[in-house]
Amino acid sequence: MNNLLNEELSIINVGLEIFYESCLAQDASVVQVDWHPPAAEEEEIDDLLSLLM
């Protein structure tokens, strides 16, 4: 059973950095993804990697 409401949060922030900063300010455990829109080729490689993993 998912016990998210009673677990300490470990957060991945994909996008706006202000939300990453807010998590840090609250001493929450957080990783920032420096997201950018995928170029077409990158997306293809990514899809192939997903199939392999």
Partner: protein, 526 residues
């Protein structure tokens, strides 16, 4: 003189770009400037502001563009150099300074850095959300999707997959949640306690959780669902899941639900779910005046304020909402009506300028029974839908966070520019006599919402005074003293320049409406 520069294949998020543009606009001899991703929507904004050049016209959405309108070529050149420094040098320094901060290039990298991740926040362009969301769900991560414009069929796919895996998906278009004491996206620093919340209404969650916290009680968990969740197409998947989770949460004794069901099936399902709930439940179906009162375990409130105070009552707190008929408030209302009527003999109306959508809807609900006609850009029964959101008429309440105003721009709670400029425009209309404003605090929001509006309030007032008119400013500040912006400081700033600040949005709306009504009485006596 208009200058621009394109930085190919560069990406920075829209809030950082907004801050950069703000810095550049303050440089000497710079009259206007923008730093944006060259999306078609942004090109339209640049065109509208006279900042579109041929170079930008041919840029792609993978490019970042800077456009500067300056008095001299030298000033424009300096501004573009500064922008370049902020975009590249600033980004590198930020990365270097974060010695202890963890960063990854993509979701796969982040999952390697944090194998036990249990929550991901997604704030990327809507059409690109599904791929990242599915990847994260496959890795067992719950989601909060801040992005809007996710195609609804993709939203349903994401939510169905999450339900199969017993994972939570808050959103898309979910701006606020508080889980296990952590405020996510636009949330406030509230006291922890035994009241749980499920909301399809971002500022609704903020207002109710802040009232509860300011009155000395607290929040266990507050789950956001996203606005589409309560449509028949999605079927309230997150709403029902949230209710079940809070019912089994040992720290939650009372549950508050705030939403605006758009479908009849989802409304019927929700009512069935409420009947099954064993814990006391307070529900506010925003705008639905036909549903009210106690039914078994469930109390149906008409406003956010009523929902908050009923939840407080269930938790043993005997606080009561502010009363606009108290002698002190009545004296203010009558005094303002006298000043308004002394300076303007024509019609007198209210103008509500909101950065929080649910707060605007609550103001609509309160004012629709008091003021007529009442126009709004929200579909609240009893209000007349504005044909053109740029043009107010009679009594008007505007949600400035609506897509109409924010396309390609940061949310109105991050960037108050749209609200400030609209206030100046309204102040030139002599029939606009009472301004009703919201100031929303919390993480992720503008660092000084009141401070960044003070000059515009002063200017609006000066515009009216030039013609001998008086404008009443009535406001509420949604937040707590523990928020990064500190509620008491924001309230003081507003009060110091003569804004009347009420403890809740509902009470501010009632007082603002009462001033308009008192003006009508006053005019009748003349």
């Amino acid at each position: 003189m208009l200058w621009s520069k394109v930085f190919p294949n560069s990406y920075r998020d829209s809030v950082l770009l907004m801050k950069m543009a703000g810095t550049i606009r303050k440089l000497p001899d710079v009259e206007n400037a923008e730093v944006m991703i060259a999306s078609e929507a942004n090109k339209e904004i640049l065109r509208f502001n006279g900042l579109l050049t041929d170079e930008i016209r041919s840029a792609t959405p993978n490019d970042l563009v800077v456009s500067v309108f300056a008095k001299t070529a030298e000033a424009a050149k300096c501004a573009i150099e500064k922008a370049e420094e902020l975009i590249f040098v600033g980004a590198e320094e930020e990365k270097k300074s974060g010695g202890t901060l963890e960063r990854a290039k993509n979701v796969r990298g982040a999952l390697s850095l944090m194998p036990g991740a249990n929550m991901a926040l997604l704030s990327i362009p809507g059409p690109l959300v599904k791929k990242e969301a599915m990847h994260l769900l496959d890795s067992g991560v719950n989601l909060m999707i801040f992005s809007d414009n996710v195609p609804i069929e993709e939203e349903l796919e994401i939510k169905k997959k999450a339900a199969e895996k017993d994972l939570l998906v808050m959103g898309p278009d979910c701006g606020t949640a508080i889980l296990n004491g952590v405020a996510l996206c636009f949330a406030n620093v509230v006291t922890r306690g035994n009241i749980g919340m499920v909301c399809a209404a971002g500022t609704g969650l903020q207002e109710v959780s802040c009232i509860i916290s300011n009155m000395g009680r607290g929040i266990s968990n507050a789950i956001g669902t996203g606005s589409n969740d309560v449509s028949d197409y999605i079927g309230g998947i997150t709403l029902k899941q949230g209710l079940r989770w809070l019912e089994r949460d040992p720290r939650t004794d009372i549950i508050v639900v705030i939403c605006k069901p758009s479908g009849d099936n989802v409304l019927r399902d929700a009512l069935e779910e409420f009947k099954k709930c064993k814990k006391p439940l307070v529900v506010n179906f925003i705008g639905r005046r036909e549903i009210g009162g106690q039914d078994g375990n469930t109390y149906f409130a008409h406003t956010l304020e009523e929902a908050a105070f009923k939840a407080l009552e269930f938790s043993g707190c005997q606080a009561v909402p502010p009363d606009e008929n108290s002698p002190e408030i009545r004296e203010f209302i009558d005094g303002e009506a006298k000043k308004i009527c002394a300076g303007w003999k024509g019609k007198k109306y209210l103008r509500g300028l909101y950065t929080g959508g649910t707060l605007a809807a609550e103001a609509d609900v309160i004012c629709r029974d008091r003021l007529s006609p009442l126009y709004s850009n929200m579909s609240v029964p009893g209000c007349i839908r504005m044909e053109d959101p740029n043009r107010s008429q009679a009594n008007t309440i505007i949600d400035l966070a609506d897509d109409f105003f924010t396309l390609g721009k940061p949310h109105a709670m991050i960037d108050p520019e749209t609200k400030n400029l609209r206030m100046i425009k309204e102040s030139l209309d002599p029939e606009a006599c009472v301004f009703l404003l919201d100031f929303v605090l919390g993480y992720g929001i503008n660092e000084d919402p009141a401070g960044n509006t003070l000059d515009f309030i002063r200017e609006s007032r000066a515009n009216a005074e030039k013609e001998g008119r008086h404008i009443s400013f009535v406001a509420s500040v949604c937040g707590t003293d523990a928020d990064p912006q500190k509620r008491f400081e924001q309230v003081k700033m507003l009060e110091d320049i003569g804004v009347f600040v009420l403890p809740t949005n509902a009470s501010a709306a009632r007082v603002a409406a009462e001033i308009v009504l008192a003006c009508e009485k006053e005019t009748g006596h003349e």
